[in-house]
Subunit: 418 residues, 2 copies
């Protein structure tokens, strides 16, 4: 009998042919780990790494991992950046929604007379950071590559309303045929009080084209004194799950002894809240502008650049307990996903294949950000082997661009002669 | 009492000041996860991700993870590649050793009249693959950046001796004041029998400059029929550990249903073996040209481009049970490490800070590989904050170089209009 050909219900080809493999002499019983990798954990003593292979990932064959993907990037048209002067920025795109055949995306839109010049030099018209003196812009597209900017969706309000200095980093929610935008609302220039701390405001509209009603409610309050999220609630992102709104957010903590960024969730039953924070927060240890999408019975997350488990896709059955599902490379930053099931409350979702992300173009006195597109295969419906290749190949020039600093060169020169 | 300030013995600053923090009112007792991250797992109900943070990594603060690093790359001098004609290749560098103040590295050296043209077109002077018709070359350096090629260390032998077609992918062992090179030994052009399967041969010398005595012993035999390593033993790499030689190797399996690459180990007490394979093989599920170095009481591994746990550093106390210790980006490929404790049999090792790696320069009819240097901070003795930054920043051009294929563009164009 062949011990190691195990028919996994999810693997149709093997399932169909499994009976005929019984007694197949080309697959001998062995007491070492077998050449044909078992689909389920075999009854063998395994090393810790092979235990993890079976315990941590849904399938032992890497290229069959539905939550592993490469990311491929494309320019998008329709956006003018004033010849990279730094006076125009577009960043932190929201998830994308499709309404009547038209794709919509919202983003931080800054159009100022100057590039950001820091907290010291900023004034009423000079921004401190790249997301200072901003409004929420939006654009539409029929094909996801060519976009038309429709202008400002939500303008920052007048003083003294919360957000009168800048509103940024929008996320969209569709709930009971209405549209809600959540965003960070600054009443002072970011950085001028030593931090980037701000509450979240929101806006509501009957259509994705508006008109938007502004609310300066505090959607998620900061935690009590001593709690991990006592200072900041960043990047609120609502997902409809189990009939409720799971509002994910980021907070920064442990700043004095080495900053840590983690993700929390607060759950509510309507767009205005209240949202009750999970007692298990933080729910993801890592990630920066973390993105979430409905996947199978649960929620998957793209955890990007911060933390021990940066560069991973995480998965949770319950929206609260997340597990590392894959490790990826060249991930999009601050991405907004096209997740067709973000707000449908389906029991089983297929995942995502594209989105919009941003890049920060740092240049002294000309810093700005721009948005572009990525495609991927984090979908049960798509099977693109090019996206499942296990390895992104950098060029020699890319390696060399990540070279030693002058300080490092000096240190190493000394060490090499020791 | 403050529940959450826990003094970890490894964290000297906190340890020194811990007594004075007792009763410090700035760190209030909270029933949510605290702002000052506990160094040891707190007595709180935690989410799965925070459980993993404590169970999987030595320290909860990412930038204090001794096995996380960025890699920074530098060109090296002293090697001529015949103007990138494809006729000269240097690849798969060995670990580097230092003898009498001089650094030594060995590598696959191909100097042929033609670039590799594939198994169909190869003959006695035209190579099939980039590592066909090769010898083992070597070079020395005083500073690790400027090298002098010393020529061929081990030439491929005459027919019919094993390896007469090509020898490649060398690794060095220093054992009882003698030097041993292990390498893949081909008696036919790689690819001509449908695979890249070859045994391992070895050479011995009294000094790193030779003279080298060639042995065509099979150091690690392939596994029995049906075993995961029944076809290939690649990249043998010896580490001296607990008084024995731990010979790590790679094998490819499950080729018909989706290839998997994993790492095994075989343990011997002298350079000629026999080496007994671990009953727990494979010991690392992932990685391609995996590198190993002595670290603390155990062995760490750099697992590069293949498998679920590609792009990770792994750690094992016993050399057999490895655990994911970090996730990295822009890792060097086919690296050879400067590990000063690779052969010293120390009980506690400090780790590594640099090495040599290669890049494959693919170009139709001109394919070759070249070697260059990387630096990192995978060392207990080094503390370089620049290497601990959690995030490698690609440029817009780098993203765009990883764009959609024509096939993908056509598929996506259709999907977007649905």
């Amino acid at each position: 009998m062949n011990r190691y050909i195990i028919c996994a219900a999810s693997f149709v080809l093997l399932l169909a042919s499994c009976g005929s493999h019984e007694g197949n002499t080309s697959n001998k019983e062995v007491d070492t780990f077998p050449y044909d990798i078992p689909y389920e954990k075999p009854d063998l003593e395994l090393s810790a790494s092979m235990e993890a292979l079976y315990d941590r990932y849904g399938v032992p064959i890497p290229q069959q991992n539905e939550l592993y993907t490469q990311f491929r990037f494309s320019p998008i048209t329709g956006f003018d950046y004033d010849q990279a002067s730094g006076k125009v920025t577009r960043r932190d795109p929201s998830r994308i929604i499709k309404v009547d055949g038209i794709y919509y995306v919202w983003y931080t839109l800054r159009q100022t007379d100057s590039a950001p010049l820091g907290a010291e030099a900023c004034n009423d018209t000079i921004p401190s950071t790249d997301w200072d003196l901003s409004d929420i812009g939006y654009a539409t597209s029929k094909d996801g590559f060519n976009w038309e900017e429709k202008g400002i969706a939500v303008a920052r309000p007048s003083s003294p309303q919360q957000g009168h200095r800048s509103i940024s980093t929008p996320e969209i929610l569709v709930w009971q045929d209405k549209y809600y935008l959540y965003f960070q609302a600054f009443s002072e220039a970011s950085g001028t009080s030593g931090g980037d701390n701000c509450p979240v405001a929101m806006a509501e509209a009957p259509t994705p084209d508006g008109p938007w009603q502004y609310y300066d409610d505090i959607v998620i309050p900061t935690g009590k004194s001593g709690a991990w999220d006592q200072y900041s609630i960043h990047d609120p992102l609502p997902v409809v799950f189990k009939g409720k709104i799971y509002m994910y957010y980021k907070s920064d903590y442990n700043k004095d002894m080495g900053q840590v960024r983690s993700q929390g969730v607060a759950i509510g039953d309507n767009p205005f809240g209240p949202f009750e924070k999970s007692a298990l927060n933080p729910v993801i240890s890592s990630g920066h502008e973390t993105q979430y999408f409905r996947f199978k019975e649960g929620i998957a997350a793209i955890a990007t650049r911060d933390g021990h488990e940066h560069y991973t896709v995480q998965y949770s059955d319950d929206g609260i307990n997340f597990y590392q599902a894959s490790i990826c490379d060249l991930m999009p930053e601050a991405s907004g996903l096209y997740d067709p099931d973000a707000f449908t409350n389906v029991e089983y979702a297929n995942g995502i294949t594209w989105g919009i992300c941003h890049i920060n173009n740092y240049s002294k006195g000309k810093t700005y950000s721009s948005i572009f597109r990525f495609d991927c295969d984090l979908s049960l419906k798509l099977d693109d082997p090019e996206m499942k290749v296990n390895h992104v190949r950098p060029t020699y020039e890319e390696y060399m661009r990540h070279g030693l600093s002058a300080k490092q060169r000096a240190r190493i020169k000394g060490e090499m002669r020791q």
